[in-house]
């Protein structure tokens, strides 16, 4: 088995996450799809780390996880405060910035 198969799997997971972000309207599910994309990239980084025999990829994946944690905290806080004012978690309703 070739380690590049992991890269194919990660590419497909990333694509599924992209389609989810484009299709879904519930803001939380959109957010979960973004998490799926981040995890697909993490799998790519770990696989590259193994292919290249260096640990830098794993360190980068670690940083991605830290930043994803921070992003989830702020993003969910934004979703909660939007829900509190607009009583909706649909991304279609929050169109204030539309020109």
């Amino acid at each position: 088995m070739n380690p590049a198969y992991y890269l194919f799997l990660a590419a497909m997971l990333f694509t599924v996450g992209t389609v989810g972000v484009l299709v879904r309207r519930n803001a939380i599910v959109v957010f979960m799809c973004v998490e799926l994309m981040l995890n697909a990239v993490n799998l790519t980084l770990v696989t590259f780390s193994r292919i290249n025999g260096r640990l830098d990829g794993q360190v980068l994946a670690f940083f991605v996880m830290v930043v994803a944690a921070a992003e989830v905290v702020v993003g969910l806080a934004i979703i909660v405060s939007i829900f509190r004012t607009r009583r909706s978690a649909s991304v279609d309703d929050a169109s204030l910035l539309k020109w």
């Binding site: 088995m1 380690p3 590049a4 198969y5 992991y6 890269l7 194919f8 799997l9 590419a11 497909m12 997971l13 990333f14 694509t15 599924v16 996450g17 389609v19 989810g20 484009l22 299709v23 879904r24 519930n26 939380i28 599910v29 957010f31 979960m32 799809c33 998490e35 799926l36 995890n39 993490n42 799998l43 770990v46 780390s49 193994r50 292919i51 290249n52 025999g53 640990l55 830098d56 794993q58 670690f62 940083f63 996880m65 830290v66 930043v67 994803a68 944690a69 921070a70 989830v72 905290v73 702020v74 969910l76 806080a77 934004i78 979703i79 909660v80 405060s81 509190r84 978690a89 649909s90």
Partner: protein, 246 residues
Amino acid sequence: MDVLAQASTQTTTVEAVIFWVLAPVALGSAIAMVFARSAVHAALLLVLDFFCLAVFYAVQDAPFLAAVQVIVYTGAIMILFLFVLMLIGVDAHESLRETLRGHRIASLVVGLGLAGVLIGAIGRATLDAGALGLEEANSGGNVLGIAKHLFGEAGRNQDSYFLAFELTSALLITAAIGAMVLTHVENKKVPSQREQVIARFKGTHPTPLSGPGVYAETHAEQEPALLPGGEPLPGSAQPRVTGGDE
């Protein structure tokens, strides 16, 4: 080095079995997550997906990341997601009506195109590239290797990720404070009856005002009550009712 590289280019049969069992599970749960009707089902399917990824990390000589994946992602982040889901209402089903015509078809086309581009690029670039393997880098243990990369070794820490690591700590603190600021609600205290009485006697009208429309020609809410002299009683009419948002 060459011998080592040759040896580790071949993955073991166990790993192949694990991959071919868990890769369909990972991909299937991801697809099912996108198409799950309920957001809670989507979150649980994503947890399954993250577990599969943790196994992949463990198989690929990254035990530290596998543990962090389980603890941080499935343990903390997904629980946070479920918590917020429960907070803002699980039964908030999203409407299936398309607001943009052809939106879903276009999204699927974009997804297929992206998959084609990515898989084609990966296939051209890496299919015949073997893996060097991490035996050498992990010789002192995976956690020790990552720590050496993060904090640098004694005497030569200029090529470490130490500055980035410190910046992530600042990022985490900023995110925590930002979340608190975003979700903070000023707790308005309801005045007690005694406080209301004291405030009323300190004001201009200890007694209730006449209702709107008293002695006037109409009882409408916006008509002020009339004093015996015929002049309107200030404060007796409702402020103009405006159509607010809520």
